[in-house]
Symmetry: C2
Subunit: 184 residues, 2 copies
C-alpha cells in the first residue's frame, strides 16, 4: 500500500539517490540544493522523498551497502586461494567507483557493513594463511584496512593523474597482492 513498485516515484527516488552518491562522493559537505540540482529535481521534491537530511544519508548508506553486497557476492570470496579471492574482491570493489569514495569521505565506517562481511572476510584471510598465499603475520582486520586504503589510493590516483581506469586497477591489484604475499 505504501509503495507503487513500478511508478514514477521509484524512478525519481532512484535518480535522487544516484545524484546524491555522485555529489556527496566528490564533496561531503554538499548542500541539499546541490544534490537536488544534480538530480535535476526541485529541492521541494527532494524533501518530499527524504523529509530530513538524515533520511537521505540513511538511504544513501543502505544503497551503498546494497551495492557493496552485490560486489561481494560476485567476488565469490570462498573460492580458490585466499590471495586469489582477495584479488577478485578488490576488482569488484574497484568497479563500485563513486560508492567507494562515498564510503571513505563520509564517516561510513567499515563497522556499518553487514555483519556477514567480517566473518566471510576473516574466513577468506584465514584460508590464505593456511594455504600459504597470505602472510600469517597479517591480521584479517589489517588486510581489510589495507585493501580499502589501496582502493582509495587507486581512485585518488585516477583523479589526480590522467591514468586509465584499467591501468590503475592493475596497479592496485599488483600492490595488494605484493603486500599480502609472505615475505619469502
Amino acid at each position: 500500500m505504501t509503495t507503487t513498485p513500478t511508478g514514477s516515484r521509484a524512478r525519481t527516488r532512484q535518480a535522487i539517490l544516484d545524484a546524491a552518491i555522485e555529489v556527496m562522493a566528490r564533496n561531503p559537505a554538499a548542500t541539499l540544493g546541490d544534490v537536488a540540482l544534480a538530480a535535476d529535481v526541485g529541492r521541494t521534491t527532494l524533501h518530499r522523498y527524504f523529509p530530513e537530511r538524515v533520511d537521505l544519508l540513511t538511504a544513501l548508506r543502505a544503497e551503498a551497502a546494497a551495492r557493496l553486497d552485490l560486489a561481494r557476492a560476485r567476488a565469490r570470496m570462498g573460492d580458490d586461494t585466499g590471495a586469489d579471492a582477495i584479488r577478485r574482491l578488490c576488482q569488484e570493489y574497484f568497479d563500485l567507483g563513486d560508492v567507494l569514495l562515498l564510503l571513505f569521505r563520509e564517516q561510513v565506517t567499515l563497522e556499518d557493513t553487514p555483519g556477514g562481511c567480517d566473518d566471510e572476510f576473516e574466513a577468506m584471510i584465514r584460508r590464505g594463511h593456511a594455504d600459504g598465499s597470505i602472510d600469517p603475520e597479517l591480521p584479517a582486520g589489517w588486510v581489510q584496512s589495507l585493501m580499502w586504503s589501496q582502493l582509495y589510493a587507486g581512485w585518488s590516483y585516477l583523479a589526480e593523474h590522467h591514468a586509465s581506469r584499467h591501468d590503475t586497477l592493475r596497479l592496485v591489484l599488483r600492490c595488494v597482492a605484493g603486500a599480502v604475499r609472505p615475505q619469502r
Copy 2:
C-alpha cells in the same frame, strides 16, 4: 614592531594551531568555537590571531607543511637503496600523527607540498628502479599514492582496533615494502 618574538603571543598562537590540528584532524567540520574550546582560549582571542576562518586554515596548512618538511629531512631520502629510503620516509611520516589525518581529511592535496618534494621523491623512486629494490612497473606518482594510503590505513587501523602504535607501524612498513618490491 608587529611581533613580540618571544612574547606570550607566540605561545598563544601555537596553542591555537596545535589544538586546531588535533580537532580538525578528528572532525573536518569542526567549528571555530570547537577549536577555541580545545585551545582553551576564548573565541574572541582566536579571531584576534586569525581574523577569518581562511586565515586559520592557511596557517594550518603552513604548519603541516613545515612539519612535513622536517620529517622529510630526517628521512634522508637520498641515502641507501630506494626501498630503504621509502621505508625511512614512511616511518617519519607515520610519526606525524594528527597532521597526517589532517592532510587527508582536509582537501590538502599532495600538490600543496613544497615543490621540492616531488622531485626528490621521484629521484628516490628512480634510484629504486635502478638498484632493483623497487618494481620498475610502478610509477613514482603511484608509489606516492600508495604510501599515503598505507599511512592512512595505519592510523585508521589504530583508531578502530586496539593495536599498539609500534605494531601498526611494523604492519605499514611491512606492507609498503612488499607492495613495491619487484614481483620475483
